[in-house]
Assembly symmetry: C2
Homo-oligomer: 207 residues x 2
DNA sequence: CCTACCGATCGGTAGG
DNA sequence: CCTACCGATCGGTAGG
């Protein structure tokens, strides 16, 4: 979030939604008057576009990191997933905002995600297909389907926040989100790789 | 959706959001005047509550079906997941509405989901633990975490609709959502069960 | 970046 | 279920 206006707008749009946030509310959060805000951003709609431009450009900053993570062979999976999770955990408002934009403007988001996600998805899928040729990744897996599913799962889990914290019984009243995210990593791992031939006692990789 | 009012309100709240839907817009969709709508539902807020009451009560109608599906041993997994997917696919607005409510009113939804989901989650988790004792389900899997993750994934994928359709490259311009949902089932299956000992050639179960 | 202001729409009421 | 109406708030402009 570069400017204070963009910062407040992002936070409010993510938490209250675009229609649920008035220009007045953003101005109040920033500490200026409404017409002053309209001076910097000519309309509420322009502010919305700036907010999601900012969000998607930050996703694009993550891409290079993932590319770098493409060096080592085996932990490429771990590093990529970690990067995606970090992106949303670093600021859960990103997940909320993306989810809201997909709901509010599906057609626009379809266009924007095509540009933003396609190169990344193609790269990750290529690695997965390589793993399939090497016999390490499950052959029946759909690389694009799997990758987007894990991404949607990360997005949804983090956007949902603590809504599920009380759904589990008496055993774990504490931070259930951590459990969900740990299980996400385990699910991603075990649904991606073929189990090892049976040499060791099927231990799990370190996280 | 019993009444026409509830039907239109559900549709509009799901697609435009609560704040993005005016009472006037709902009245127009129904074909009555605004004060007439306020006669049946004393406030917009009352209408929202009725809409999500209706949605969650329909989820509760699914519960018995899942209980019944608890007869056969092996395909219990398949039937339960199919039921959850059917619930959202039958009317994608359910997924959108739930997602929006989790974003708009996280505290209220936390309370409501505790009541609605807890018995269902406890039952499914119990079956999973049984499978773990029988050595069919992966021992390191977190039953509650896994179940909620798969549910969130179904919710998110269906709420997202066709936003990802253009993200895949040239190969499949057609219905990518189907691929995503098929891969969801495969991911759920392979992350839940231990792979078979190695007798057959690791075929996949029929769907 | 501000004060002053505008037409349109908001959720909701009065009264029948 | 309607007509008529209300105060409050909406996004945005004029003019400095």
């Amino acid at each position: 979030m570069k400017t204070p206006i963009l910062e407040s707008a992002t936070r409010l749009f993510a938490r209250m939604g675009y229609a649920g946030t008035s220009v007045q509310a953003i101005a109040d959060a920033v500490g200026i008057k409404k017409p002053s805000l309209i001076y910097w951003f000519p309309s509420k709609e322009a502010l919305r576009e700036a907010v999601i431009d900012d969000l998607l450009s930050r996703w694009n900053e993550v891409l290079p990191k993932v590319m770098v993570a493409a060096q080592g062979g085996q932990d490429r999976f771990q590093r990529t997933l970690t990067e995606v999770l970090r992106f949303f955990e670093e600021d859960p408002d990103r997940a909320r905002l993306l989810m809201r934009e997909m709901l509010d403007h599906p057609d626009e988001m379809q266009r924007r995600l095509e540009l933003t996600l396609r190169p990344w998805l193609a790269l990750v899928s290529e690695y997965i297909r390589l793993g399939q040729r090497q016999g390490r990744v499950r052959p029946e897996l759909d690389p694009e389907g799997w990758t987007l599913n894990i991404t949607v799962l990360a997005l949804g889990t983090i956007a949902a926040g603590s809504v599920f914290d009380q759904v589990v019984g008496s055993d774990g009243p504490a931070d259930f989100r951590r459990r969900q995210l740990d299980e996400l990593v385990r699910t991603a791992h075990s649904s991606l790789f073929l189990d090892r031939p049976a040499s060791a006692g099927a231990p799990q990789e370190s996280r």
